[in-house]
């Protein structure tokens, strides 16, 4: 088939991205079954329409047409045949859904928290990451909820990984569960697919599928800068990954929150009338408890990052903000 010929070694085709989970292996055959049912049905319907359109094109005004008003056998046939295909598609889709709904035993359990507009993934050993890191060939169970670290309420998000063909909504005040088993090492994208406001389209993070023997190492490395990167450079990367850029510019322009350019060392004025010089401790407190002091002219909307950043990461982000001083 054409699609198989076009398929890359990683399972990607013209229609579908890289195939990287056991669910993708169940999804893709059904996708192509429906696809070919659609292609054939479309060609038949539009083909017959085009044939009639050409064959019975009006040659002269007032030509006599057939008095045909229906054909019972034909009508029964075109109810029966599509119904069979519809039932097959329903049943097949249902089978895949059963797999989606029922996580196996012995999964690696990761707790997922979505906030506007960032993700955090907490591993059994307490490690917290803003990117999803999972070992290959091992079932992973995500227990997900939406929280709000800010004065505004939590909203609905949805966790979507196209390479795994999986998504599930993430709701405030309850848990939803999504499980998968990654089958291919590599880095893929995790999107938010439930509209959640200003930073919705920036709420994407990488999913790293790593060899099982490297998994522990990768988790441990979450707390130090990647090789060849200074602390401030790592801070810059984290600043983007944590979604800070959605509200804080680094070039002096005004977004939802104050710009980071020239912030370090400047004197800040707060809505309670007090002032303070923005030093390391101010930055640390503002990230962990943003509602304590609100800059004049801004809203109390930033979520708290307490419990969502390791100390090493917090230091790196502060180092980056310092590097943006005038």
């Amino acid at each position: 088939m054409i699609n198989t010929l076009l398929a890359n070694a990683n399972g990607a085709t013209f229609w579908l991205p890289v195939q990287a989970s056991t669910f993708a292996e169940v999804h893709d055959p059904l996708f192509y079954f429906i696809y070919w049912v659609c292609v054939v049905s479309f060609v038949v319907v539009v083909g017959v329409m085009a044939y009639f359109g050409v064959k019975y094109k009006r040659k002269q005004e007032g030509e006599r047409t057939s008095g045909n008003r229906g054909n019972f056998a034909l009508e029964v046939g075109w109810i029966a045949v599509p119904s069979v295909f519809l039932l097959i598609i329903f049943w097949w889709g249902f089978q895949g859904f059963v797999m989606y709904q029922t996580p196996p035993a012995n999964t690696l359990n990761v707790r997922v928290t979505a906030d506007t507009w960032s993700w955090s993934f907490r591993y059994p050993d307490g490690t917290v990451s803003s990117e999803l890191i999972v070992p290959v060939d091992q079932p992973v169970r995500l227990t997900m909820t939406s929280e709000s670290g800010s004065a505004q309420g939590a909203v609905i998000h949805s966790l979507f990984i196209p390479a795994f063909r999986l998504k599930r909504d993430v709701l405030p005040d309850r848990y939803t569960v999504l499980w998968f088993e990654a089958t291919r090492e590599g880095t893929y994208t995790l999107f938010c697919t439930e509209y959640c406001g200003t930073g919705h389209s920036e709420m994407n993070v990488p999913v790293h599928v790593v060899p099982s023997d490297e998994f522990a190492e990768r988790l441990a490395a979450l707390d130090s800068a990647p090789d060849g990167m200074t602390t401030a450079e790592w801070g810059q990367q984290l600043f983007a990954q944590q979604g800070c850029t959605a509200c804080h510019s680094v070039d002096g322009s005004r977004l939802i929150g104050p710009t980071m350019q020239g912030l370090y060392g400047s004197t800040r004025e707060f809505t309670d009338g007090s002032t303070r010089v923005a030093d390391e401790n101010y930055l640390r407190e503002s990230i962990l408890e943003p509602s304590a002091l609100i800059n004049v002219g801004y809203q109390n909307v930033m979520p708290s990052y307490a419990g969502r950043l390791t100390d090493g990461r917090l230091d790196a982000i502060i180092a980056y903000i310092e590097s943006l001083a005038d």
Partner: protein
């Protein structure tokens, strides 16, 4: 049907519904269903223009990954929200029934007017009032919830326009209910002598099915929006978990209305196609009973499938399975219609005029729109495709490619009757081609965007490049093709606007029955006289008795 209706007196006097009375007041307070239909038509098309320009803004922005127009994310979010809200509530829900339906239902029934002319006028005035709320939302506040108003985003975070816009939608709901009640009573009580149920034009059947949904589903969305307003304004916990509410409940309420309303949109277009394909092929409709009954079947099964919008939302697995099954069930009556229209063309005498070209377009685009629904109805594939551009492409193929194309077909088919003028046929065909090509270029690419994983409602997509550069390259290319397509389509639509307006002033006078139709609207003058028919028409046969009776065979 009888051609006994004598139009000569009024004809000779040169009066018709357009020139019988004069002045703005004679329009604003008219009880004539034809004038109300025309006012609806103009209003609806104006809002289509507003919604369409917003869509062009959205498409232009997505031309580059960072956003090509320099709109902020908040501005973009407002643009797509207002595009969706205006197109749904102000354009497509009333579209064909309120304009073409209002104008032609009494004519097709051989009646002087609808059953409750004052209610009909009230329905238009409510539409106007609801529209003012939307205009106020645009001018004074802003709305960034998406047209779906999902809680708790809409009750807790979104911009201030939520209460204004939902109040507007609430009022528009009453406009729909009044139209629905009016149509149901009209069809039951005002049919001409001899016009039995099985002699009704299929367009009337489709309006009947539509009206049932208007009356049964709209109150639910009214209640839902009211609850939303109460929660947002007074902090009563209904949907917001922070107040002890349930956000999934909102989705159930919302889709309980909003899925049936999809059929409110599409059924009248089905009715239009049944009319167009018969007259322009000069054939009796293939399987009249099947088409009429399938409209009613779709209206009822349509009430039982709302949960297919929520397969990944956290509803129970059992509900998801039941909703998936019922969704496949509703595909059957829809397929019956498509096959029957194609079969109608068999051994016909098919003319390639503008209305028939729209019929071909409809069958082509609706086949794609309907078939791609199979991917979304199946549970396992919906898990991947839900809330991606695949969904955007699917519902645009159905809503725009089918409903709007059917609407354009209807406008071209009945334009001579409504205005008494013929439009430029050559320009009509060129514009139809432009819209068809532009539409496919715009939306077919979005199927691929969706299957590759592009989520909908994204203001930008540049972040993807940090993770998967090849994916960013593909998204960019597909978005660019789509944007180019949307401007081709816009060119076609502006061309239509131009020649239709020109025809009003300079078009040739239209004959009473330019296409040789057999239903009653063709038995009166073009444009019709104020009271539709000089005498009471009497009906002795069905509306599609080709070729036994054919006004074109001299």
């Amino acid at each position: 049907m009888s051609t006994a209706a004598q139009t000569d007196t009024a004809h000779a006097a040169g009066t018709n519904y357009l020139n019988a009375t004069k002045g703005l007041k004679s329009w604003i307070f008219t009880l004539d269903h034809k004038r109300i239909g025309i006012m609806y038509l103009i209003s609806i098309l104006l809002f289509f223009l507003v919604g369409g320009l917003l869509a062009l803004g959205v498409r232009a922005h997505l031309f580059s990954p960072e956003g090509a127009t320099g709109m902020s994310n908040d501005t973009y979010n407002q643009a797509f929200t207002l595009h969706g809200a205006i197109m749904t509530f102000l354009f497509i829900v009333p579209s064909i029934p309120a304009s073409i339906g209002n104008f032609f239902l009494p004519l097709m029934l051989g009646a002087k007017d609808v059953a409750f002319p004052k209610l009909n006028l009230a329905s238009y005035h409510l539409y106007f009032l609801g529209a003012l709320f939307f205009i106020a939302t645009i001018v004074f506040t802003g709305l960034d919830t998406g047209w779906t108003f999902y809680a708790p985003f809409s009750t807790d975070r979104a911009m201030n326009g939520v209460i204004l816009a939902t109040s507007g939608a609430f009022i528009l709901g009453f406009s729909s209910i009044l139209t629905g009640v009016n149509f149901i009573v009209t069809i039951h009580k005002l049919r001409a002598p001899g016009l039995t149920w099985r002699r009704l034009p299929l367009f009337v059947w489709s309006l009947y099915a539509t009206s049932i949904i208007y009356v049964l589903a709209t109150p639910v969305v009214g209640i839902t929006l009211l609850l939303l307003i109460i929660e947002r304004a007074f902090g009563v916990g209904i949907f917001d978990p922070a107040l002890g509410g349930d956000p999934v409940l909102f989705q159930h309420f919302f889709w309980f209305y909003s899925h049936p309303v999809v059929y409110v949109m599409i059924l009248p277009a089905f009715g239009v196609i049944s009319e167009l394909v018969t007259i322009h092929s000069r054939k009796h409709i293939f399987g009249y009973n099947a088409i009429a009954v399938s409209s009613i079947a779709i209206a009822f099964i349509g009430f039982l499938v709302w949960g297919h919008h929520m397969f990944v939302s956290g509803q129970s697995g059992l509900s998801a399975a039941v909703f998936s099954f019922l969704t496949f069930l509703v595909a059957v009556p829809t397929a019956i219609k498509v096959f029957s229209w194609v079969a109608t063309m068999y051994k016909g005498s098919i003319v390639y005029n503008t209305p028939m070209l729209y019929t071909f377009s409809f069958l082509f685009l609706f086949s794609i729109g309907g078939l791609t629904g199979l991917f979304l109805g199946a549970l396992a594939t919906d898990v991947h495709l839900h809330d991606t551009y695949f969904v955007v492409a699917h519902f645009h193929y159905v809503m725009m490619g089918s409903v709007f194309i059917g609407f354009l077909g209807a406008i071209h088919h009945w334009w001579p009757k409504m205005t008494g003028r013929m439009y430029n046929e050559t320009l009509g065909r060129i514009a139809c081609g432009l819209v068809f090509v532009g539409f496919n270029v715009t939306f077919f690419t979005q199927f691929v965007l969706g299957t590759q994983g592009m989520p909908r409602r994204y203001a930008t997509y540049h972040e993807v490049g940090d993770i998967e550069p090849q994916l960013l390259e593909m998204f960019t290319l597909l978005h660019q093709i789509s944007t180019i397509g949307s401007f081709i389509m816009a060119a076609g639509l502006f061309l239509i606007l131009f020649y239709l307006l020109a025809s009003v002033f300079k078009g040739d006078k239209a004959p009473d029955n330019p296409w040789g139709g057999l239903s009653l609207e063709w038995a009166t003058a073009s444009p019709p006289i104020e009271h539709n028919f000089e005498g009471q028409p009497v009906v002795r046969r069905g509306p599609y008795e080709f070729p036994e009776i054919d006004p074109m065979i001299k």
